[in-house]
C-alpha cells in the first residue's frame, strides 16, 4: 500500500504509518532508534507531542536532535546537538544492557506472528541464501533489553510470514510465556505499526492481533497482506486521521532531508 492515497484523504499510507508510529512514543522516554522508518517516526514524535524524549542511536549519540533525517546511523547530524556522544561498547553495555532504554524502535525485513524478526537471510539455507540481508546490527540486544519494543514495517505476505527463514531478534519466541523463559529483561514488542494498521500481542498467547485499522484500509486487505491467518480484535478500532500539524511536520522534515541530501 505504500505510496498510495488512502480513500479520499490527502495523505499516503506511508505517512499514516509514520504518524501512527510516532504517536506510540510517549513524552520523556529514552528511545533506542533504528535507522529508516523508525528514525522518521521518532523524530516526528520529538517535533510534535514528545519533545522531551531522548533519542539514542547505536553509533553512540545520546539525546540526538537531528534537523534532518540521517541516511546512516552515524551521520554527523546526530552528533552535532547530542547531549553526549559515547563509544559503541558504552551504548550497548551501559545504556541498553543496563536497562536505561525504555523503548526500542525497530524496523524489520520479516516478522512472524509472535513478533520475532528476521534481518539476516531469505530463501535457500543460511550457507547459500537466496537473499543475503544486512544482518543483526543492534537489533537482537535492543529486542532483548529495551523495556518495550515498537516495530514498524510495511505489511505484505513476503514480510509477514508464517515461519521466518532466520530468527535474528526475538519477540515472543514461540508464544505464551516462552520469552520469559529466555531470561530477557525487556518485555518484548508491545506494538507493530504497518501501513494497514496496528497489531498488538494477545495478552495470553502473545500472537500479534490486528487491533486497529488505518482509515481506508480493510480487514480483508490486511488479511491478504499477512502470511499467517491474521487474528482480528473484536473491538477493532480505526486510527484517527493525521492531524494537520502532524502531516505538516512530517512533510517539512522529509523536505528538509531531501534538500540537505541534494545540497550534499
Amino acid at each position: 500500500m505504500s505510496g498510495t492515497t488512502n480513500g479520499n484523504a490527502t495523505y499516503t499510507a506511508d505517512e499514516m504509518m509514520s504518524i501512527a508510529a510516532s504517536r506510540e512514543l510517549r513524552g520523556g522516554v529514552v528511545c533506542f532508534v533504528g535507522i529508516g522508518l523508525p528514525s522518521e517516526a521518532a523524530n516526528l514524535a520529538r517535533a510534535t507531542h514528545a519533545p522531551e524524549c531522548s533519542l539514542i542511536y547505536e553509533s553512540g549519540t545520546i539525546g540526538a536532535k537531528p534537523e534532518v533525517l540521517p541516511l546512516s546511523i552515524g551521520d554527523g547530524e546526530l552528533a552535532e546537538n547530542a547531549d553526549s556522544v559515547v563509544s559503541v561498547p558504552e551504548i550497548f553495555n551501559y545504556w541498553l544492557q543496563a536497562g536505561r532504554v525504555d523503548v526500542g524502535f525497530l524496523g524489520a525485513a520479516q516478522i512472524d506472528k509472535f513478533g520475532n524478526i528476521n534481518t539476516t537471510v531469505i530463501g535457500g539455507d543460511y550457507d547459500e541464501p537466496k537473499v543475503r540481508l544486512p544482518g543483526a546490527g543492534g537489533a537482537p540486544e535492543i529486542a532483548a533489553s529495551a523495556k518495550e519494543v515498537i516495530v514498524m514495517l510495511r505489511q505484505s505476505p513476503r514480510a509477514f510470514v508464517e515461519k521466518l527463514a532466520f530468527i535474528t531478534s526475538v519477540g515472543y519466541a514461540t508464544g505464551g510465556n516462552s520469552r520469559e523463559k529466555l531470561g530477557y529483561p525487556g518485555a518484548g514488542p508491545s506494538v507493530v505499526i504497518t501501513d494497514f494498521g496496528i497489531l498488538r500481542p494477545d495478552p495470553e498467547t502473545k500472537e500479534l492481533t490486528l487491533v486497529g485499522l488505518h482509515p481506508g484500509a480493510t480487514v480483508e486487505a490486511a488479511k491478504e497482506a499477512t502470511g499467517w491467518k491474521l487474528k482480528i480484535a473484536d473491538d477493532l478500532e480505526t486510527t484517527y486521521e493525521p492531524e494537520e500539524k502532524e502531516l505538516q511536520v512530517l512533510r517539512d522534515l522529509k523536505e528538509r532531508t531531501e534538500a540537505a541530501r541534494k545540497a550534499g
Binding site: I35, G36, E58, S59, G60, T61, P70, L71, S72, I73, G74, D75, G76, L78, A79, S84, V85, V86, S87, V88, P89, F92, N93, L96, Q97, T120, Y126, E128, P129, K130, V131, R132, L133, P134, G135, A136, G137, G138, A139, P140, E141, A144, S145, F166, I167, T168, S169, V170, A173, R179, L182, G183, Y184, P185, R261, G264
Partner: protein, 282 residues
Amino acid sequence: MELGEAVESLVSDGDSVAFEGFTHLIPFAAAHEVIRQGRRDLTLIRMTPDLVYDQMIGAGCASKLIFSWGGNPGVGSLHRFRDAVEKGWPESIEIEEHSHAGMANRYVAGASNLPFAVLRGYVGTDLPKVTSTIAPITCPFTGEELMAVPALTPDVAVIHAQQADRNGNVAMWGITGIQKEAVFSARRSIVTVEEIVDEFEPMPFQTVLPSIALDAVSVVPSGAYPSYAHDFYARDNAFYEAWDPIGRDRGKFEAWMARHVFGVEDFAEHLRSIEAEGMVKE
C-alpha cells in the same frame, strides 16, 4: 610514514585486519592502498562493513568476513558482498556473523587481553546455530545464564582520525564508534589523519590515542571520503547512492576499480579521478 610504506610493512597476505569506523571516519584511503598492493586471503573484521569492504571483497582481497551489519546504510545492499556470499564471486567468502553488542564486547575483550566477553543476548535467536563463536556460559557467582563471545585480536587495526601532533599522538572527535577498542585489540595499528598540528585543541567528545599505542601514522587529507570527518567535510551521501548501480554489476564494478583504484597512484589521485567523472560533490 607514507601510507604505502605503512601498508607494505604492516599488512601481509593472510592477516586479519579491522578497518573500523561507524559511518564516520571510515579509512577509505588505507583500504584502497591495501587493494592496490594486492593483498589476498585477508580476514576482514568490522561491525558495519560498507562500501569499503564491498570494494575489498569485490577486488578479491578477502577470504573471510567477521561482522555484525553489512549494508549500504539507507541505500540498500552491498552487492559485491552479496555476490560473494550468494554466488561465490570473485571467490567464495566465509562469514562469521554477530550482533553489534557481540562485536563491541569482542573488541573490548581483545583490548583487555581477556580470552572472551560475556553479554545478555543471542539467546533464542538463530545466530548461535550458525556462528560457532557464540556459546552459553554460567555466571560462577549468581548462576545466571549468559552468552560468551571470544576476544577479537586482529593482526592489524586501521582507522582514520582528524589530527595527529608532531609526536604522533592522534586526536579524533564526533562519533568515534569502536576505533579505540579496535586499536587496542590489535597487534599492529595504522592511523591515517586529515592533518598534523602543533598542539591539539580540546574538542567535544574527543579521544586521544597516544603514539605509544600506534605503529604508523600517515597524513591523507580527505582519507575517509566518501565517509566524513567531523569539522572537516560532510558525508557524501550522493556517492553512497551512486555506488549502488556500480556495485550491482560485476563489469561496472571492475571497470570502476580499474579506473579509480588500481589505475591511480594514491588517494589524492583517486579523488581527482572520481571528481573528473562528477562523483565528488565539492
